[in-house]
């Protein structure tokens, strides 16, 4: 199901370059965040 404006953004724990866990909500709590999903890095 596609997400619409106003819906809660799903929160996830992802991994950064150094292998540390990063919770998405910890980022957007700092301010508006653009989350772009890529098919691959490149």
């Amino acid at each position: 199901m596609q997400l619409s404006v106003g819906m809660p953004a799903p929160d996830f724990t992802l991994t950064d370059k150094s292998g540390q866990s990063v919770v998405l909500s910890s980022l957007w709590q700092q301010g508006p965040t653009i989350v772009t999903f890529l098919r691959h890095f490149g």
Binding site: D16, S18, Q29, H40
Partner: protein, 137 residues
């Protein structure tokens, strides 16, 4: 795509926006590709398709994976010097871009029409401006 986002990151920061690039992979892939192509970006990985699916990003259909537009955009990127990508996980997953507000709500959503379709930095910045006007933030 990473190079495009890297080029726009100063403008994103100036607009008080954080840019997060998510891809399937492991930290070593992140270091290898994001570290060299987009050192100023926050790049994050997940080893599964779960985040994509939860954000409503599904596997592309044949026409979204291998259309003339996809081939043309791939050729254009190659001519601009963009090199091969790190492919990990399910390459059929469709890309997408979202602006999430401070309260954790979706403020803007862009579902790519095919795997080569990404909003330009200008489109993202304009969307963020519209969001700010709408929410008065």
């Amino acid at each position: 795509m990473l190079a495009q986002l890297e080029q726009g990151n100063e403008e994103f920061k100036a607009a008080s926006l954080q840019m997060i690039a998510v891809a399937m992979g492991q930290p070593k892939h992140n270091q290898q590709f994001c570290g060299s192509l987009a050192p100023s970006l926050t790049c994050l990985t997940h080893e599964t398709t779960e985040p994509y699916l939860t954000y409503g990003l599904n596997q592309g259909k044949l026409g979204q994976l291998a259309s003339l537009n996809v081939v043309a955009n791939g050729a254009k990127a190659a001519m601009q010097g963009h090199q091969g990508a790190m492919v990990y996980g399910d390459v059929r997953m469709m890309p997408g871009t979202f602006i999430v507000d401070r309260d954790g709500n979706i403020a803007w959503a862009y579902y790519s029409k095919d795997v080569s379709d990404h909003p330009s930095n200008e489109v993202i910045l304009e969307a963020a401006t519209q969001v700010r006007m709408r929410t008065n933030t």
